[in-house]
Symmetry: C2
Subunit: 419 residues, 2 copies
């Protein structure tokens, strides 16, 4: 059922092979019929995103939603030991919650059907294991806090069932979103093909969930320069915005994608050496724990270099006036994480607006007075109030998209219809 592909030249997937969990086309009708007779579990939007993630092998070598032994290793060790004794990184629980009545309905069945709207079965979970969903412990060990107001917790955990169901996943219907962006959703296997086609001898991944400004661009261009200096002939950038669940005040995916396309059109990044694709995972905002997942998944997609910045996957503490995580912990934890030894971690240099150059530049601590830091909040305020950012902060096409987005929000707030 699970297909494996090996690409020579690129970094090996975790566990040695990429685990895809699709049912063969020839078997789909059969499996659909099989699913009709199984107990059904209705998936939430985030559950479907995880089915997507698992099905394409981003979490290789996971073969489905976690059973308890995988869940416990994830919570306690941020890694999973394989049968051969080797260790792969796995920092974020990929689990499926069910409630008491669903559990009762499953009764003694060893398989369940996973369904979306209209009871359409998209996958089967086999050899299932049902175990307790201790939400408090899961939250505490994943986020390092149990403070109310964590976005993913509010969205996907607090009101979820008291049981978790793990098992082997067989996906009948590959997940599609029909939002005009599916062509950007390359699977790890497709990305590996693309990197091979481009003869990439190094792949460096940049995870983002925000618009790209020239500081980001500078850093990506500089990374390529450094890799060339190291002797690589053709380093390729995987520009990899996260496409799953994000919190309400983040810029929505389709606006971000418009903005990223403009950045490529305006020539800020070179399309020849850049692959723009969508990473289908939902966002946890779990800082040092989550950044490991972001890095690990990119190994499976063929990246052997990972750029990490200040406070990755971080946010403000939901109750206290401070960042939830120490800004340096993400890169420190990443550099020590079990199972990520093969990945080259490239810590971010801080870029800021250099008034002497009218553009973004790496911050020079010997002349701090020359630099302006433009935070995400500041950027949003400028775009909302239609003020222009300093020249050279972002390419004009990209900036225009952001202004349009905040315009659409205003119209929505004033009773209009957002684009």
């Amino acid at each position: 059922m699970s297909q494996t592909r090996i690409h020579s030249g690129l970094i090996e997937p975790d566990g040695g092979k990429l685990v895809e969990l699709f049912v063969d086309e020839s078997q789909r009708d059969l499996k659909r019929k099989e699913a009709l007779n199984l107990p059904k579990i209705k998936l939430t939007k985030i559950d479907v995103e995880w089915v997507h993630v698992l099905s394409e092998g981003w979490a290789s070598p996971l073969k489905g939603f976690m059973r308890e032994s995988e869940f416990l290793q994830t919570l306690h060790f941020n890694s999973i030991r394989l049968e051969d004794g080797s260790v792969v990184n796995m920092s974020v629980p990929i689990v499926l919650a069910i409630d008491d009545s669903q559990k009762n309905q499953i009764d003694g069945s060893s398989s369940v059907a996973l369904v979306v709207d209209g009871n359409n079965p998209i996958a089967i979970l086999t050899d299932i294991e049902i175990y307790k969903h201790n939400k408090e412990e899961r939250i505490a060990r994943t986020w390092g806090t149990t403070a109310p107001g964590l976005p993913y917790v509010d969205e996907a955990i607090t009101h979820s069932g008291n049981w978790l169901i793990g098992g082997d996943l067989k996906v009948i219907e590959p997940v599609k979103y029909h939002d005009g962006l599916d062509s950007f959703r390359l699977s790890p296997s497709e990305l590996r093909d693309e990197f091979t086609r481009r003869n990439a001898d190094a792949v460096f991944a940049f995870q983002l969930r925000n618009p790209v400004h020239n500081g980001h661009a500078l850093l990506m261009i500089d990374t390529r320069r450094r890799l060339l200096e190291m002797g690589y002939k053709n380093p390729v950038l995987l520009l990899h915005p996260l496409g799953g669940y994000t919190k309400e005040d983040d810029v929505p995916l389709h606006w971000r994608m418009k903005q990223h396309e403009k950045v490529l059109e305006d020539g800020v990044l070179d399309p020849e050496t850049t692959v723009l694709s969508i990473f289908p995972s939902p966002m946890h905002y779990a800082g040092p724990t989550e950044v490991q997942w972001h890095a690990k998944a990119r190994i499976n997609a063929g990246a052997n270099f990972y750029i990490v910045g200040r406070d990755p996957a971080g946010m403000s503490h939901p109750l206290e006036k401070r960042d939830l995580y120490d800004a340096d912990h993400g890169k420190k934890v990443l550099s020590m994480a079990p199972g990520l030894e093969r990945l080259n971690i490239l810590p971010f240099k801080v870029a800021a607006y250099d008034k002497t150059k009218n553009g973004m530049a790496f911050f020079d601590p010997s002349r701090p007075q020359d630099f302006i830091f433009i935070s995400g909040t500041k950027m949003r305020t400028l775009a909302k109030t239609k003020e222009s950012p300093p020249d050279g902060f972002m390419c004009p096409g990209g900036w225009k998209v952001l202004v349009e987005y905040y315009d659409s929000l205003d119209q929505a707030e004033n009773g209009g219809v957002p684009a």
Copy 2:
């Protein structure tokens, strides 16, 4: 400064050598003088217990209170990667907290003196590193909850300083308690010598913080039997009560030691094949996280088998009416824990009072009606009310000690002086 010893035959200490952190006798006066000129940190009782633990190498290869990289690896991975790439288990932070004024007082000094009552320096911490003490994150990741009422948290974390200070520890004054029990406090090195002297070819450790009843004894005797069957010629039991901080309603160490001695005197356990010693660590009550520490420390003391029971290091949830940890998670986590692959985990069989045998026996699920489970709470109630437990539950000498202990409590409550 750090001395190493290698004993052939016994399991290797973590990191390959036992790290003892005592200053050579000849250097002590020098170091005492040196300490006088250093900024001073006053230790709490629990801090002193950790100095004891570190100094004797229970936490080998740790060389002192954790620096940030060790602290982060402990919180996120329950293990630490060594320079040679190998991994040792380390699940519980061994850290020293200081407050803002202490931090200011240290200023630019690279070493500090650790003092107890009367400013008596017992150790020096060198090459120090001071970093933030994020208490919420430490608690959440160690206990899997931040609920108020965790005993160690209330005692040692909540009111501690906002900074942690790590560094290399040089102990000038080996920690002694002068409570009549110091002769039971064998260091890992002394235990290794004792096991070697006894020609042990297997050492199985039993961690406890409660009185020993015949169910425990049965299990320890049965373990020895199993080890003999496996072909070991002389398995030795390390009966290893925890001697550091425990919560208020646990039986105090000196009463427990009296009880354990009676168990040996009464011949329930064979003194020839049992080493009774005190494990100097304070107790976290952190369940699956802490049981790894309990096991790892015993590797350093020469044990290659570790007995693990139901809900090890567990307690009730401080707010909710349930156990804080799933009763099976301890042994599951222990069996998967990084750095403990070398240790043989022996899961507990459940023993209960068998009415057909008038004694403790392994529970037989085919005839549940024949068994009575006597919980710790039930045992305490019986001892307090001077009722006798069923014949064969505990040796009479051991039971008498418990009755005396609860008598002494009553006297104290009634204005008398406890023994």
